[in-house]
Symmetry: C2
Subunit: 263 residues, 2 copies
């Protein structure tokens, strides 16, 4: 069992801080399902910390891990950002990639998050984009750190399933998507087109980049103007708006269906 | 300014506890947008507590409130379940209604939550169901208390916009929906039909009750068997599943679109 003061453990504990994540290019993944997903990616997991209980419960999973160190329950709590620490944490290498090679692969479906600052929503959108068969998710502007513990958890492993691009300038990202032949659709409650119209007109069958704004403020006017089209999700009841992740689910699945029907 | 020991204030503070909510039939709504929505419903708001700052900032809103008492910042923190108390809290009467009159109005779109225990997801589904034009949301089985502070917040006022039915036996709720002429669709990753098939076949145009299970465990076998149809949302990428609220958004908007196209 490692001492609670062990240097590697202390370094890992530091990764609950976004600045340490940025400086080291490492982040933490907690819990058996997410750690299993991380272990499936070659070269991503650098080190695993597990309590005696977690080692016993997840012996099969840990058989494939590069380096497993046993830690105390107290140390596990220090590595955890959850109320109920699961005793199993992996230190992973950052998985984000540059935009250029992503666009060179001629993606058909992208999600671009501009200024998304709710980690739960952002992680859920990653998971939904993955489920909808999107090729990549782009984080632009003042968005939450993609390696935030809550975001990683909400993504349920999808962080490792699609191309992740971070730190982009929003206007440059939209321009790059357009130049790569993607139709750019900016979502806003005041969108010029309603989602169902685009579906009816067959306009979602083409390669598409969906652009989603901040939970409270939405997208700024210059980005709405930069996109090929502004789109609103219809509101049939009395709600003033949709939750960002719910709106993204409706848009991304609209595209997924149209692209498959259109093939 | 009320004393922090004032009896009404203490009773309101007690409503952060689910048992006190059940016993009194009252619950708390926090923050200007949600309190404004509550005030629009006749007879719902019983009492408003506001700090001096909140009274000043929201003078227009509070002009229409039945009874406003000024409280200290400390008392406001005691009434709040959020990290950043907003200084404005309304004590509201429970708004749930019995199932029978809801079904007598011949609803066209319902969501039934069975054993949903994540308040954020449940509140988001309420908001999404409202946006999709659903008539009611039914809470069945061991579901989270609908007056939980986090659920109320995530619903963004939609709690007040549609019929809310709570405390139902799941099998009885499904049976009652069928008897009222609703097609009952139970969602599960192993569903016999895929959502897109139902859309293509025009089967979502009829009055429909969508049944959603617990975030981790899904729906039990007896309820899957009791529904007219089991349905899976397609997964095109590598995600193992969708977040419950994301799946609900795709299903409810699928129905909303089909019911409008079918008219």
């Amino acid at each position: 069992v490692l001492s609670d003061n062990n240097a590697r453990l202390a370094a890992a504990r530091g990764l609950t801080n976004p600045r340490a994540r940025r400086e080291t290019g490492r982040f933490l993944v907690e819990g058996a399902p997410a750690v299993a997903q991380a272990l499936r990616q070659p070269g991503v997991v650098q080190q695993v910390f597990a309590t005696a209980g977690a080692r016993y419960r997840h012996a099969d999973l840990l058989a494939g891990a590069p380096e497993v160190a046993e830690i105390s329950d107290r140390a596990a709590a220090g590595l955890s950002e959850t109320v109920h620490p699961q005793g199993l944490v992996a230190v992973c290498r950052a998985v984000d990639v540059p935009l250029e090679p992503v666009l060179e692969r001629r993606p058909r479906l992208l999600a671009v998050l501009v200024g998304a600052n709710d980690p739960g929503n952002a992680g859920t959108i990653l998971r939904t984009a993955d489920a909808a068969g999107a090729d990549a998710v782009l984080f632009a502007g003042d968005s939450v750190d993609v390696y935030n513990g809550k975001l990683v958890r909400a993504s349920a492993g999808s962080l490792f399933h699609l191309d992740l691009v971070t730190g982009l300038d929003p206007a440059a990202a939209i321009q790059a998507c357009r130049a790569a032949g993607l139709r750019t659709l900016a979502t806003t409650g005041a969108g010029a087109r309603q989602l169902d119209e685009l579906i009816d007109a067959g306009e979602l069958a083409v390669p598409t980049a969906w652009i989603f704004g901040n939970e409270a403020r939405g997208l700024p006017a210059d980005l709405l103007a930069a996109a090929d089209q502004t789109v609103r999700v219809p509101i049939y009841g009395k709600a003033e708006s949709l939750n960002l992740a719910a709106a993204a689910a409706v848009c991304l699945y609209g595209s997924a269906r149209a692209q498959r029907v259109g093939q």
